[in-house]
Amino acid sequence: MRTLIVDDSSLMRKMVERALRLAGLDMDEVLQAGNGEEALELLRADATNGSVLNLILSDVNMPVMDGLAFLEQRQKEKLAQGVPVIMITTEGNEAFVRRAIAAGAMGYICKPFVPEQIRAKIEHLL
């Protein structure tokens, strides 16, 4: 599985990757981005060279470009279409969920999480 993790915290990116591996998911390649803008750059590069992602996990509350703005721009540019996106957030309120789904998110996981929650969500989506 080729996965993109977007989070402004490098420690959290490592923790999410560790949780994915602890959950027993087959992670061939893990790409990392520190905010939505960096993530878009990776998706544009993938679109150019024909690489395919299997999963995107994105934080919401980030500087430069937050997770929802990233999703909306990804949709606008038609990047990584059909790739499941899971938002990782502390909030998960009604307004957030409505906007995330409208922007193409297929689900969300609330922090704090345990690895099994990530596994269950991904298995449900893939």
């Binding site: 490098s10 420690l11 490592k14 509350n61 502390t90 309120n93 009604e94 922090k111």
Partner: protein
């Protein structure tokens, strides 16, 4: 300063205890419980988050140096002497998880409000003993270290200028 009339402080503090416990146990694998022990002072890492919108809240978390170091180790699961470059990331993310979860549990999700990105700074309690009036202070203990949390219910602008 007193909390707004419609604020149930006991409910906030009960939820704060539960949230702290959940964040530390699930994400860091350590127990963190309310404690009567207080930070010894010295250099502190201060994390400030603001909730803005229809409701206005400011939250401060203070990690003394041993607590900040323990937080980095809990995150990385690596015992290294070179922990300081990662401290802002670790304490900021803990603050984000604690306050974001508290916001989700306690604030009406139908009301528009947003949570700021955590701002981390260093503060020397010995040099600057005066602290802004706060509504409530709570101390916690994890791995024999203390974590101090202050909830301030003044508008964010008032806190920033005090």
């Amino acid at each position: 300063m007193s909390p707004p009339d419609n604020l149930d402080m006991d409910r906030w503090l009960d939820q704060l205890d539960a949230t702290i416990s959940e964040v530390f146990q699930n994400m860091l694998g350590v127990t963190c419980l309310p404690s009567a022990n207080r930070s010894k002072g010295g250099e502190l890492f201060k994390v400030v988050l603001h909730v803005t919108g229809d409701v206005e809240r400011t939250f401060c978390l203070y990690f003394d140096k041993p607590a900040a170091k323990a937080a980095v180790f809990a995150f990385t699961q690596e015992d290294t002497e070179d922990w300081e470059p990662q401290v802002e990331d670790a304490v900021g993310e803990i603050g984000n998880m604690v306050i974001g979860t508290l916001k989700r549990k306690l604030l009406n999700s139908a009301l528009p409000s947003s949570l700021s990105v955590p701002a981390v700074s260093r503060e020397d309690r010995k040099v600057n003993p005066a602290t802004p009036a706060v509504t409530s202070r709570r101390d916690y203990e994890f791995l024999d270290n203390t974590l101090e949390i202050r909830l301030d219910f003044r508008p964010a602008a008032a806190v920033q200028s005090s």
